[in-house]
Symmetry: C2
Subunit: 190 residues, 2 copies
Amino acid sequence: MEQLKEKIRREGIVLSDKVLKVDAFLNHQIDPRLMQQIGEEFARRFRDEGVTKIVTIEASGIAPAVMAGLELGVPVIFARKHQSLTLTDHLLTASVYSFTKQVESTIAISTHHLSANDRVLIIDDFLANGKAAKGLIALVQQAGASVAGLGIVIEKSFQAGRQELEAQGFRIESLARVRSLEGGQVQFVD
Amino acid sequence: MEQLKEKIRREGIVLSDKVLKVDAFLNHQIDPRLMQQIGEEFARRFRDEGVTKIVTIEASGIAPAVMAGLELGVPVIFARKHQSLTLTDHLLTASVYSFTKQVESTIAISTHHLSANDRVLIIDDFLANGKAAKGLIALVQQAGASVAGLGIVIEKSFQAGRQELEAQGFRIESLARVRSLEGGQVQFVD
């Protein structure tokens, strides 16, 4: 997706060979118009998959997921990383290690909002080693629902996430695929 | 806002005299079309305020804030509650006690995205005692920016938040104002 790659080139900051900071438009400050374009692109790619729900994870997945949900006309569920007074019982849970936060955490979705009849599009901001994606897939499968595919805003293609998930048969659509961050430069696949 | 009140009546769950659970469309599952209508309503109410940025707080503020940002054509910043590898330096911070999570936490915004020239609309999902709102106001004021007002999705009018913030001179626009949750019934103001 060209607008996204252009935004990454202009406003992304390479912090190391593995860490790309996009706090200017996705992970801290959000560009709503770009999120709308991202939502439209996810909808275009998954339009024929019979998606009934979108599942994402707080916090950075919410904006692109809601825009995709608006375009596809389906509800969005965001998995919680932290316990809340109002989210207490009937939980599906999975354990996820966060690379950027360097902590293991439990993610949770209420059983009330996901059923065996659902066909789920999983959306997330980044795909690196695939830990968050696998956690979300585990939650969807615990509910007996099927996974229509994964929509990723930025993929770090030099890490193993895509390869492992594709080997398990999942369809992955990443809107920007980063081949390398070496030398402080963002190089895209293609 | 009538669509919102209707949604609260139909899908809100009264957990106690003080806690209203709206996990079905705002705090866990999100209704994207309703969020769009909420964003349009915030934009309508604050259109003439010269807003340059929207500030909210992760996670439940993000969806309504991004829709309002789309409509007003301005970027959205979400304050972080948790430390991230990519959000490390040049932080504005404030301390906030969360009623629903019953923990004190530090919220943070990077100085990179907020300047003294900004006029900020603060958006949040709930206003109860005003702790989160005051934390966000403190962050905006630390940046030297001005507060255009507060846009709240659901106000618990039986708690002191609105009163205290209005006494400090802030404009508050709440799209649904809950007068009482007693007896398991949602009663709105008016």
